[in-house]
């Protein structure tokens, strides 16, 4: 039985038991008015009556006439590889700036419709994140440039090339501004261009900069490298504000490693321990075992303090100024020291001085080339903030003759963006290769739009020895040209970029001494998507020698940071869904609830509960107040969101919003936090500690949060958790075993049933969800949306609680006690624990929805699925009312081909956007219920392939979209009737059982709401926190 008396709460309104919240929570469908012109009281108007009449007449006449003539138009010359209705898969690579993922693209009739991870990649290992999943839609973005432009007017490529070739030659000094370039061939193409033009310099910056690390490596070790990190090899992880699971450097890779180190079982009851010291509650912080909120002005000192603690143990002289005392810090230091060589300290700071100290700590802990790998450096971030800063000055001084913005948007996403905007006109020639006419591109003279990455050839070198290829999966939709090819063209080189890449690879192939011919080598690389150079694996270990010293860095830190801040500091952070804002014009990402705040479609200022109490702000269900924020000479008005876990005295504001030229989805949402960033310190600093003022304007505002929409009505034990110590003693620690009184004794709920039960003779599909692995990153929610044509409904409808997501990630805060007074609330919200629980249709064997449907539109299959038949549904919504998990979604409107939703639901309204729809899944009509189908289209396809090949279905033949997308393998799908399947082994299902009620022997596995015995086919594994035994 559960011993601790934790209180779980989805939002502050639930914690305080707000009467309004309770009222709304009672209703599955609160009475919000409809979008159309209905009367205030919700009754029908005369006009509605006439419309209904009109509909009946139309329906009657429609029935009388013949069906429209439909055409079947085959190819003239069918490509050999394309068979209509049969999907093709191509390995490719997603890369934007330094963000990298090796992917497999699913195409139908030559249209890419889904991105999956590439399992062959040694970096991303088959994982994706929300941005990668959503990137397929940016291919079909209406905002994309259709053709090159000269001076704002559409032009021909030949005209553009003709004008540019001459102008660039005579421009004098040319600067190419770019985000991190991972492609060796692109670099070579730029070199060809530079050789031709003479005075060319490539200046690299990154919107989310990690310049601090490379600069620190340079000062401390003498070479500016970004090491690879191995979170899986660390027993103790200490992170100072590095959101490595959400947005820091290579989150997909790190998430996989991190989860690897935290997968536990009875046989291996060990997991890493994770400390986080941060200001805003990040995705990473919410997964930490011990989290300490610190202010931004303390962040440097905290790292220094840890250094001193470690240095004392190591017998090295300590640095001055580092005596800040923080909760958990000395505990962390002790454990780091005890796990020398198996620990890892990272910091999200972009301050090179802080990173020098971090390097020094890892060196003292002997982590170098174990968990911090300098031998196999990563190339994800090559940005040089100080050079970029200098460029801004040069540009404004008129020293730059020509400037080419290569797929970057510094006017928007660089700290000195406004200065660049002002200076562009001073350059003689300005060119942008951006795909859309973004903030920077709309200021330049020449637009030479690049292909989308799914239309491009390219190669990438994300890490030493690891290469990957990108190949086009669709012909270019518009008259665009790949930027490297443009560089070649302007240099007078007419080689196609494809040939150019092959040249490079052929040359390297000849040197490598690999056996076989180049064509087969190339074909294999293209098929795999990745190539791992073997020579690098046996690279000689070069001893790292510290050339810099900690004392200088410590002194600088001592000056820049204070133990007691001003009490009003601003931290600019990166959201998991929106990221740097480059993909902001993607409605899937805009509507994806932020993993922590669960807010959609908005940028807001996160404040602590303490600040809210002091300023008389009471937030419930998104209803909040606007505030005026002044910092760094800028003033904004933003809504305020009370965020549990936010460090007192700090505010948080996310990057990626406030776009003005991204497209109609993103434009005008939120404010641009880049404008607040100070880039003048020699590095881009993502926090402001001085001169920040925040005051409420008194104006009301509503943030569209999804979290409070569905609640369990106080039923406990939805989340079951234990500490590692408890788990080691008892594998079923934290489990709740409900019992029901019957005939004089207590029995398991499954022993009492009205139903005789199903029998699954062939398959019994099941899903196991390890809450210990789920980091809440929401890659699954976007993957599901893409796979199943789930509609985007827009902010207004999210406010009306009508979001359509089939899978949501419930985020529960937990604190020792409930709260009724403000003071208690403050305490509870100060630093709560967080649990993530993916929630989708549980495919119950005793499904409550099935028994209440009056038209049998929802039924049970012989394979354990709860089926939803849209064409039979008449929209009574009884099923949703009767669903204990609140996972059914009702189509209140026709979301497709509806001008009211055209601005948000672009995949179902734009002619271009519709190309992304999955042709195997119905686009649902108005008035029907929908929900997770367990990707039945994939199940059917997998079964059919097996049948066609005359064999049994193998584990892995069928996998659901959410499980495929998951970077941490938290979701495992499979056939529970197959004793060899991964899910059966995980659950320890008893063999040879065809009954619906499987005996599951895994102690951690439980059903949510087991006591009502709906017998789901989705199992959850208890969350285990690596805390000392009696700490709850």
């Amino acid at each position: 039985m559960k011993e601790n008396k934790k209180t779980y709460w989805k939002g502050l309104e639930q914690l305080t038991n707000d009467p309004e919240f309770v009222k709304n929570a009672d209703q599955e469908f609160p009475g919000f008015t409809s979008k159309s012109n209905q009367k205030e009281d919700g009754s029908s108007t005369r006009r509605d009556f006439l419309k209904m009449m009109g509909f009946s007449v139309a329906a009657a006449s429609l029935a009388a006439c013949e069906a429209p003539v439909r055409k079947a138009i085959p190819y003239v010359n069918k490509p050999v590889d394309i068979n209509p209705s049969v999907p093709n898969y191509y390995a490719s690579t997603f890369s934007k700036g330094g963000d990298y993922a090796s992917v497999v693209v699913k195409t139908r009739e030559g249209r890419p419709i889904k991105i999956d991870g590439n399992e062959l990649s040694p970096i991303t290992k088959g994982g994706t994140n929300a941005i990668v999943e959503g990137s397929v839609l940016s291919l079909y973005d209406e905002a994309r440039l259709r053709a090159p432009q000269i001076g704002g007017k559409t032009a021909e490529w030949s005209a553009l090339d003709g004008e540019l070739a001459g102008k660039l030659k005579s421009a004098g000094t040319i600067k190419i501004i770019s985000n991190t370039i991972l492609s060796p061939s692109t670099n070579r193409a730029i070199k060809v261009f530079a050789d031709q033009m003479g005075d060319v310099e490539v200046i690299t910056y990154d919107p989310i900069s990690n310049y601090g690390i490379t600069k620190a490596s340079e000062t401390y070790y003498g070479s500016s490298v970004l090491p690879s990190y191995n979170f899986d090899k660390a027993n103790v992880i200490v992170s100072f504000g590095a959101d490595f699971l959400g947005s820091w450097i290579s989150p997909i890779e790190f998430a996989r490693q991190y989860a690897q180190g935290r997968k536990i079982s009875k046989e291996n009851p060990n997991m890493s321990r994770h400390y986080q010291f941060e200001s805003t509650l990040s995705l990473t912080g919410s997964n930490a075992d011990y989290r300490t909120p610190i202010t931004a002005s303390q962040s440097g000192l905290a790292v220094l303090a840890l250094y001193n603690l470690i240095a004392k143990k190591a017998g090295v002289s300590t640095a001055g100024g580092g005596n800040l005392e923080l909760n958990n810090l000395s505990k962390a230091a002790n454990e780091l020291w005890a796990n020398k060589g198996k620990s890892l300290v990272v910091s999200g700071s972009n301050d090179p001085n802080v990173q020098v100290v971090v390097h020094a700590i890892n060196e003292l802990l002997e982590n170098n080339n174990k968990t911090v790998d300098f031998e196999n450096p990563a190339y994800f971030r090559k940005g040089d903030d100080s050079r970029m800063n200098q460029f801004v000055k040069e540009l404004n001084a008129g020293k730059v003759g020509g400037v080419i913005f290569y797929n970057c948007n510094p006017v928007y996403d660089f700290g000195g963006g406004q200065a660049i905007a002002a200076g562009i006109a001073k350059a003689k020639v300005s060119v942008s290769t951006s795909e859309v006419k973004d903030e920077t591109a709309s200021l330049v003279q020449y637009l030479a739009p690049d292909h989308h990455y799914l239309e491009s050839w390219n190669d990438f070198n994300p890490k030493k020895g690891v290469y990957s290829l990108a190949q086009p999966v669709i012909s270019p939709l518009f008259s665009t040209r790949q930027a490297p090819e443009s560089f070649l063209k302007w240099a007078g080189n007419t080689t196609s970029y494809y040939d150019f890449i092959r040249e490079e690879w052929q040359a390297n192939f000849a040197e490598s001494g690999i056996e076989g011919d180049f064509q087969s080598f190339w074909d294999k690389c293209l098929f795999d998507g990745v190539y791992i150079s073997e020579s690098s694996e046996e690279g000689e270990a070069s001893a790292l020698e510290a050339v810099g010293d900690v004392a200088t860095a410590a002194a600088a830190i001592g000056k820049a940071y204070q133990a007691q801040g001003s009490g009003s500091e601003l931290v600019v952070y990166t959201k998991v869904g929106i990221g740097s804002g480059a993909f902001a014009n993607n409605p899937w990402l805009q509507e994806m609830p932020d993993p922590i705040s669960k807010a959609t479609w908005d940028n807001y200022l996160t404040v602590s509960q303490k600040w809210a109490n002091e300023n008389g702000l009471k937030m419930h269900e998104g209803a909040t107040k606007l505030a005026t924020v002044s910092a760094n000479g800028q003033t904004f008005t933003v809504p305020v969101l009370v965020q549990p876990g936010q460090a007192n005295g700090t505010f948080g504001l996310a990057l990626g919003y406030g776009r003005t030229a991204a497209g109609r989805v993103a434009d005008g949402i939120g404010v641009n936090a880049y404008a607040l960033i100070n880039a003048n310190k020699g590095f881009v600093e993502y926090h402001i500690t001085e001169g920040v003022s925040v005051s409420l304007t008194g104006e009301s505002y509503r943030i569209a949060q999804t979290q409070t929409h569905q609640t369990y009505m106080g039923r406990d034990f939805v989340v079951q958790e234990a500490t590692l110590g408890e788990y080691k003693e008892d594998a079923s620690a934290g489990r709740y075993h409900p019992e029901i009184y019957k005939d004089g004794e207590f029995v398991k709920p499954s022993k009492i049933s009205l139903w005789s039960g199903h029998k699954y003779s062939q398959h019994h599909w099941g899903l196991a969800i390890d809450m210990n692995s789920c980091i809440g990153c929401a890659a699954c929610t976007v993957a599901c949306q893409v796979e199943n044509n789930v509609a985007v409904v827009g902010k207004e409808e999210v406010l009306n609680r009508r979001e359509m997501a089939w899978i949501r990630i419930d985020r529960y805060y937990s604190s020792p006690e409930g709260a009724t007074s403000n003071a208690e609330l403050e305490q509870a919200a100060d630093n709560p624990e967080v649990t993530f629980q993916p929630m989708m249709c549980q495919h119950c064997n005793n499904a409550p929805c099935e028994t209440v449907c009056p038209v049998v539109a929802t039924t049970h299959s012989s394979e354990g699925l709860n089926q939803m038949t849209y064409n039979r549904c008449i929209g009574t919504r009884y099923c949703a009312n009767n669903c204990p998990y609140k996972v059914r979604r009702f189509n209140w409107f026709k979301y497709h081909d509806n001008k009211d939703f055209a601005g948000v639901n672009t995949p179902q309204n734009d002619d271009l956007g519709k190309m992304v729809l999955n042709p195997d899944v119905t686009v649902r009509a108005r008035g029907v219920m929908e929900k997770c189908s367990m990707c039945v289209q994939r199940i059917q396809a997998g079964k059919l392939t097996a049948k066609r090949e005359g064999r049994k279905i193998k584990d892995g033949d069928v996998n659901v979209a959410c499980a495929v997308a998951c970077p941490t393998e938290a979701l495992v799908f499979g056939d529970m009737n197959d004793s060899q399947s991964k899910v059966s082994k995980m659950l320890k299902v008893e063999e040879n059982s065809t009954s619906a009620l499987k005996e599951v022997n895994e102690e951690r596995a439980y059903h949510v709401l087991e006591e009502i015995n709906v017998s789901p086919n989705v199992w959850y594994f208890t969350k285990i926190r690596n805390k000392d035994k009696n700490e709850a």
Partner: protein
């Protein structure tokens, strides 16, 4: 150039397909005579090989894509013929005069190699070419109709016209019975009236008149009549509603007067030759113009006519102008229903004709089946599953073995909603 190349690609793949069909047909050749044997076994073995590999391009007595073949052994050396069949390009490139001439005559069309045929196979093939059925096309036609008859016959039950006749005869017989009964009654009445020993009651009973008016005006009658009329109207209305959207018999005219009767019927081109997707995917595929061009590069007209047929010219136009042919869809399933051809054809082994009707007799294709959900479900209720040799079904067969009935589609979830609706 590219079109030619891909045509080549397609024809090579078709050959592979044919090879597969051949391999699975399990025919063993056993002739030993070095000269061409004329035994029936050899001829029939040869015919199978011919049908599987050659028929797409060759006829015995008719020039098609390739030459008419009968008498080839008289015209050429036996070894030469075998070598040419095995790999004609070896001869052509080797500069053999006859081979080069042939190659030129037929527009440099490369005959796919048949190196998988053994020497015995080749001998059998040649014996079929030599002695095979003299009335080749006629026989083919007869075969086609026979097969077609089988396909339609499989519907079972009594044909409609017989039912009507039976009904009419039944009505006539019943009317006659009625008349006879009436006569008997009147005769009996007369006879009874004549008899003397009857009291008043009896007389009244005998001579009673039926009060038809009363019956018609009685409540019961009105209720019954109203109910019957109402039932009839409702039934008609329901029937009418059920036909909404059902387009059985829909036979739109197509942009090209393509005849399945000619291609599938007379020439027996297998359906899969053009509808390439039928065994691999959801769509059977309307053939792309390049598939038409495989044959129509050479066949420009129906036999015996001069010049390019105007209908075939439309294909050439399409290819020359790179303009796809816009066929009119005959079979339109609603978007809410998922149907996969390969499930039914490749896995279930269902004949095309089961759903599409006697397509090989259709000059213009019409929708043969209702394509309603009832129609789908009926078939799923009644169709047995071909489980043999398919490991996928092993467990189901084993679990079903206790049952006396055969394993049908409905038994493995074939009636469930999410099999077709998602």
């Amino acid at each position: 150039m590219s079109i030619k190349r891909s045509i080549l690609g397609v024809s090579i793949r078709v050959c592979h397909l044919l090879v597969l069909i051949f391999l699975f047909s399990g025919i063993q050749a056993y002739a030993v005579d070095p000269e061409i044997p004329d035994s029936e076994e050899a001829i029939s073995a040869g015919q199978s090989i011919f049908n599987a590999n050659c028929k797409t391009c060759h006829r015995l007595d008719q020039k098609l894509v390739g030459p008419a073949l009968r008498g080839v052994t008289d015209r050429r050396e036996l070894d030469w013929a075998k070598q040419f069949i095995t790999n004609s390009q070896v001869l052509v490139q080797g500069g053999d005069a006859d081979a080069v001439a042939l190659f030129k005559e037929f527009n440099n069309t490369v005959m796919p190699s048949h190196d998988f045929l053994s020497d015995d196979d080749l001998t059998n093939l040649l014996s079929y070419i030599e002695y095979g059925d003299k009335a080749d096309p006629a026989a083919a036609e007869a075969g086609a109709t026979a097969e077609g008859g089988e396909a339609t016959g499989s519907g079972g039950g009594i044909p409609n016209e017989y039912l009507t006749i039976i009904l009419v005869v039944l009505v006539i017989v019943l009317v006659l019975v009625l008349v006879v009964l009436g006569l008997i009654v009147s005769v009996l009445t007369k006879y009874m009236n004549k008899s003397e020993n009857l009291d008043e009651d009896d007389k009244e009973f005998i001579n009673q008149k039926t009060d038809y008016k009363g019956i018609f005006k009685s409540d019961g009658m009105i209720i019954i009549v109203t109910a019957i009329v109402l039932a009839f109207v409702v039934k008609t209305a329901i029937n009418g509603l059920y036909t909404v959207g059902v387009q059985q018999g829909y036979a739109p005219s197509q942009p090209i007067a393509y005849s399945h009767e000619l291609h599938a019927g007379q020439y027996e081109i297998p359906c899969q030759y053009c509808h390439t997707g039928v065994e691999i995917g959801k769509s059977a595929n309307i053939p792309s113009a390049n598939i038409c061009m495989n044959c129509h590069m050479h066949i420009q007209n129906v036999e015996g006519k001069e010049g390019v047929s105007p209908e075939i010219a439309k294909i050439y136009d399409a290819v020359d102008n790179n303009q796809p042919i816009e066929w009119v869809r005959v079979h339109n399933l609603p978007d809410l229903a998922y149907f996969n051809h390969s499930q039914h054809v490749a896995v279930g082994g269902i004949e095309c004709q089961t759903c599409h009707g006697p397509i090989e007799e259709m000059e213009v294709v019409s929708q043969h089946s209702a394509l309603t959900m009832g129609w789908c479900i009926d078939c799923h209720r009644n169709t047995e599953i071909t489980t043999q040799g398919n490991e996928y079904y092993d467990k189901l067969v084993q679990l079903h073995s206790e049952s006396k009935d055969a394993l049908k589609v409905k038994d493995i979830g074939g009636l469930e909603c999410a099999k077709c609706h998602y």
